[in-house]
């Protein structure tokens, strides 16, 4: 039997040290270090192509890091231990739901994949949580973008994970759907779940988080506790950081 390494009792929810991910010489994640304690919420802002999605892919074990250390729920991400994946939920651009199945069928399927004892009951409970129980027997293909995103949350929290990764969850949502999603995220945060969210929505990201980071060209150009951030002037600061970093990198590459 394979000896699965156990996390030590004092582990942080997410611990990253000098993490790098390269694609043929291009550093999508370049020496990022940070730590998130259990129950903390980190918002990561950054322009398109900054490497935010790659950071999430590395932390969720979808792709291997090129170098550095990434620990999630106390487990080394590289080890690909199923117990680590049991601790995390992921919401990304794509809903990861089968279009020809109903929400119930989708959630029961994922419940079985996560080895839940009563997948039917768990599926119904999370559908009620996200307000989609009344559409539980309709095909997912007929759902709007906002409903898909809520269903995506239901899939991500079905197995009651302690850590959530959200990759630009507000993309393509109207104001009403965005507000519903914000409420769900706030509830999840209040329930002491650790959350790492990448987003372009600055006001929304600042509103909910405990820590703020700005990722530009693979690096964290900014990482602070929310109490140390001037929220009023953050947007201007953010655009300055993005411009300056991109300018510096452009000069270096010449």
């Amino acid at each position: 039997m394979i000896d699965i390494p156990k996390p030590d009792s004092s582990y942080s929810a997410i611990e990253v040290r000098q993490l790098c991910k390269e694609f043929g010489g291009l550093k999508a994640v370049d020496g990022i270090s940070f730590e998130l304690k259990r129950g903390e919420f980190l918002s990561v802002f950054g322009p398109n192509g900054a490497g935010k999605t790659t950071l999430i892919k590395v932390l969720t074990g979808l792709t291997r890091p090129s170098s550095g250390i990434a620990k999630v729920a106390g487990y080394q991400v590289e080890d690909g231990i199923p117990e680590m994946r049991r601790q995390i939920g992921v919401i990304s651009h794509s809903p990861a739901l089968y279009a020809d199945l109903t929400p119930m069928e989708n959630l029961v399927f994922f419940g079985k994949m996560y080895g839940l004892d009563h997948p039917q009951d768990s599926a119904l409970a999370v559908l009620e949580d996200v307000g989609l129980a009344f559409r539980r027997n309709d095909r997912v293909r007929t759902f709007s973008r906002g409903m898909l995103q809520r269903l995506s949350i239901a899939r991500a929290i079905l197995h009651n994970p302690s850590i959530l990764f959200l990759d630009e969850p507000f993309t393509g949502l109207d104001i009403h759907a965005s507000n519903i999603l914000k409420e769900h995220l706030q509830t999840l945060h209040n329930n002491k779940r650790t959350i790492l969210m990448t987003t372009h929505d600055i006001s929304c990201g600042l509103e909910m988080c405990d820590k703020v980071a700005v990722q530009v060209m693979g690096k964290f150009a900014f990482l602070k506790d929310i109490k140390d951030v001037d929220k009023e002037n953050f947007e201007a600061l953010y655009f300055d950081m993005v411009r300056n970093n991109q300018f510096t990198m452009a000069i270096r590459s010449h």
Binding site: V90, D100, F109
Partner: protein
């Protein structure tokens, strides 16, 4: 039930429910196989050549070409809406994804073959019933080999833009030993020879089935990684 087995069965259940609702895979494979057989009937003069000599090759060409359609669709369904990412994130060994898809592909293809056999029997005027059991064994071995390798390569080609072209280009050369084995065995069975006389072909086909399963288990982890 063991979690590994229950995860595989969950994937098979999901594929069955999807197919039951859409009927895309089975109908496409069945109609394609039927058309291949019909084209050959009109292009081969059965008054000159013996049906039992050309029949096995035509039957397996129909099975393999239509099966390729099904394999192409198999992992494309998983890529839609990022479902494969959802599967990979589940606390399951990646071989469960492979075996789940393998069993689904095998069952769909075998079901299609069982529907094609009576039509083949009528069109080529060959009595398959007296050789049914050995023929089913050969079909089992051939379909298993095709699906073991095909499922692996369709998971690989599903990441490519030219997946419809790449799958047959990668698959058919590697299938040659299995195709030679099953076509020879089918021919001998239709000629009335007993199974005991073709143990070398059975051994060859079964060996390649096992080799391809082993290769798939060893490589699927890397293939499914982004």
């Amino acid at each position: 039930m063991n979690i590994f087995v229950s995860q595989i069965m969950a994937i098979v259940w999901k594929d069955f429910v999807t197919e039951f609702k859409t009927r895309e895979l089975f109908s496409a494979m069945f109609i394609f196989a039927l058309l291949v057989i019909l084209i050959f009937i009109f292009s081969v003069n059965l008054s000159i050549v013996k049906a039992s000599e050309v029949g096995p090759g035509i039957l397996w060409v129909a099975f393999l070409f239509s099966g390729t359609l099904g394999l192409n669709r198999s992992f494309v369904l998983e890529k839609e809406n990022g479902c494969l990412m959802g599967l990979i994130l589940a606390p399951a060994d990646r071989t469960t994804i492979y075996f789940g898809k393998l069993i689904s592909n095998f069952v769909f293809l075998t079901a299609m073959e069982l529907f094609i056999l009576p039509l083949f029997m009528v069109f080529f005027n060959i009595d398959l019933l007296e050789h049914l059991l050995p023929l089913l064994l050969v079909i089992f071995l051939g379909t298993l080999g095709f699906c073991t390798l095909g499922t692996l390569l369709s998971s690989l080609s599903s990441n490519l833009k030219t997946r419809e072209i790449m799958l047959p280009i990668l698959l058919y050369p590697l299938l040659v030993p299995i195709v030679i084995g099953v076509v020879r065995m089918t021919g001998q069975i239709l000629a009335g020879e007993p199974l005991s006389g073709m143990m070398n072909w059975i051994g060859l086909t079964a060996s390649f089935d096992i080799i391809y399963i082993g290769v798939s288990i060893m490589t699927i982890d890397h293939i499914l990684e982004e």
